[in-house]
Amino acid sequence: MTLASAIETQDLGRVYKIRDAKKKERQELVALREANLRVERGELFGLLGPNGAGKTTLIKILTTLLAPTAGWARVAGFDVMREQARVRPLINMVSGGESSGYGLLTVRENLWMFAQFYGIPSAQANQRIKELLEIVKMSDRLNTKSSDLSTGLRQKMNIVRGFMTDPHVVFLDEPTLGLDVGASRDVRAFIRRWVTEDRARTVLLTTHYMVEADELCDRVAIINQGRVLACDTPANLKRRLQRDAIFRIETDRLNGAGIETLRALPGVRSVVHRSGDARDTLEFVLARDEVLGAVINAMEARQIRLLHLDKREPTLEDVFVDLVGRSMAEVEGDAK
């Protein structure tokens, strides 16, 4: 029992049946396909992917909210479908970017009630609530009605709710979504500290933010269109690109023209284009440093003015581009 992985999935899949309002026919949408993941106890594991990648779908299945349509999943050693009653006491979850809770209850009452649902004795619950509120810097709000909290503070209260029950596995769906920079930093520090304190604790979080995945997580699975494309430590993921040369070039405003030509140059692995207000940025992944000369020549030939150039270390963003062919922002742009 104690040897079981925190999370284990086998060919896990989920298909949604959606009704097309116009055509009146049923369509199938594959939100998750053949996911095979194993997260060990003590890990802080990240799921990184663009909108619609299937991150929330996976979390819903693992937290017993949603039935999979293929494969199976185990959390803390128990099957999420057949043994849901054994999974639930051992897990907890928090979704970011939404304000939940009973506005008419105080922060303490909201949290205490949920502790009661988990059968935690009142005294112990109150003690933990006090400690956790202290850590997220909300001690002064203990007796505030939760309807009087700002969105950010409500989210922090919700995060406390997720950790208060001392779960074996915590699922966090975009925990810092909608929080300001300072609060996000506090929350990330808190998550890291919580996992480190006790090696039996496990966190699975989803995120849009490359930096969050890179700096916070022990291992990251990159997911796009329902498919897990890669799963490793951030360092190992980036190492795949270590041999490549990554250059960032700032230019005048481009109108998209010429980028295809640059992309087609021999030795250019990928080009990501970002438009800014005054200048545009092109990010090149090149097979070798030497290819840069050809790129600059090609730019000159097309009269693209080079304003700034630097070489940098690969990031998870580059890993995503390498796997998918486009940046996360571009993938999300396409979906709209």
Binding site: T63, T64, L65, A85, G101, L104, E109, F117, G119
Partner: protein, 291 residues
Amino acid sequence: MVNLKSEILNLKSLRSFRMATWLGWQIESNWTDPFLFAVYSIVKPLASALILVVMYGVITSGDFNAPLFSFIFIGNAFYQYVGAVMTGVSWSVIDDREHYRTLKYIYTAPVDYMAYLIGRGIARVLTGSFSVFITISAGVLFLQVPVQLGAIDAPLFLAALAIGIVMLAMMGLVLAGIILLIAHHAGYLGDATAGALYLFSGAIFPLDVLPEFLRPIGYLMPITYWLELLRRSLVGSVAQAFPTLAPFSNAQLLAILIGLTLLFGALSFFAFRWCDRRARERGLIDMVTNH
């Protein structure tokens, strides 16, 4: 002993039920506006009773001493529990899912969700009882409804009331299950069902007034026996002026009520479980419709 007590209180179903009634009561009693409370708990029930009284008065040319009047008045007063409890149970699904956005957190907690919903419904009994009490008191004071404190069969009254509330909560579960599966607001379902059953459960007229082919519905409804028991416990002989259920003794009626409650309870249990499973398959547990 103390240990055993805390052990029992900590059983999943019991603690779910306990916390849900606590939460339900917090929500119920959160009348930030006493005026609103007065309207809902006093004016509304009295107004609806008044409509009935006026209609009765017109039809019978003011024969308020006939046993039929007590029959109608008491039946109507207690029928308020039907809407209150069934809506209380089923409305909680919408409330938690759409309004408070807590349903997914409750659902994924080690909570017995059925016990939780029943608890939320039972919380309405307190405010509901207030309305019923006001209505009955008004009837006794102003309309000579012959309830005499000394003549009340208290044990029968309390037993019937308690069983009836459990029965109503179980029936509410079916609605809660349906709401779990419906993608839009359906809070009216509780009141709509209560309204539909109003005619078939002997609330305002004896069953034999119904056309013959509709009577079996009334005989099948536990609400019918429940209301009859409440009438008998409060006004004794008056209720027996009608032939429908007169052949049955109190004990027999109680047995029928318990039997039907168990039957409907079991059916509701399985119906809810089925809806719950479907909802999880279709991903509806944490659905938000943005109303």
